[in-house]
Amino acid sequence: MTAGLLFFFVLAGVAVTGAVALIVARHPIHSALALIVVMVALAGLYLLQGADFIAAVQIIVYGGAIMVLFVFVIMLLNAGVEERTNLSRMARYVGLPLAIFLLLELVYWVGRAPAAAAVASPGPVETRALAKMLFNEFVFPFELTSLLILIAILGALVLAKRES
């Protein structure tokens, strides 16, 4: 068991535990914290694969901006009421087992696929190479995303404004 494999299993265990906690938690703030745990674990997995820039962006943007937005909205809306989960009988006895069976089957087939396991990544990816590709090949989508962010800001402002 190399160090890389050990790190992978630890981080994967944390990620899956966080995802299960998101589903099982009754208060939405607990689900939000569980999702933050999942995102940090995924950032660790990106680091393990050598994607340094993506790991940093994941923590800064996803964990530091999007999840903070979620927590603020949960606080604003006072979403403190715990939801009572009475699953319908169909969901509990047919839906949930079928969903778990589908999950296990997908895991089986994905795990059996002859993925290119032999290609070992030669160390971390240089951010400069990523930036070169982003600003040369993908410059048009890049500019479009800046427009998208502007539209999102305008949309959020217009939607959340109180009618005065």
Partner: protein, 100 residues
């Protein structure tokens, strides 16, 4: 070295858990968080594919997915605030104005 299929299996499991959360939960904010979980699982698959194929396009795509998810979260949460203000509830079972 960790084989790529391990990462893909983890991505599948996380995606499946996101789907289960999306279907089971009743609070609209929690449902939205399950969607974010699905997006994260797909990001993991993209980074894994980028590493195993030796191409950088996968990571560029992850960058775009994160940016679009941020914009979508902003607008989606604004919509949720509006809905909560108008209907005074966050339970999706009560948000059935278009039924009948």
């Amino acid at each position: 070295m960790v084989p790529a299929s391990y990462y893909l299996v983890l991505s599948t499991v996380l995606f499946g858990l996101g789907v289960i959360g999306f279907v089971l939960k009743r609070n609209i904010i929690t449902i939205f968080m399950a969607i974010e979980l699905m997006l994260n699982a797909v990001n993991l698959a993209f980074v894994t594919a980028s590493r195993s194929l030796g191409q950088l396009q996968g990571q560029v795509f992850v960058f775009f997915v994160i940016v679009v998810a941020a914009a979508e979260a902003a607008v989606g949460l604004a919509i949720i605030i509006l809905v909560a203000r108008n209907r005074q509830t966050l339970n999706v079972e009560h948000l059935d104005l278009m039924k009948h």
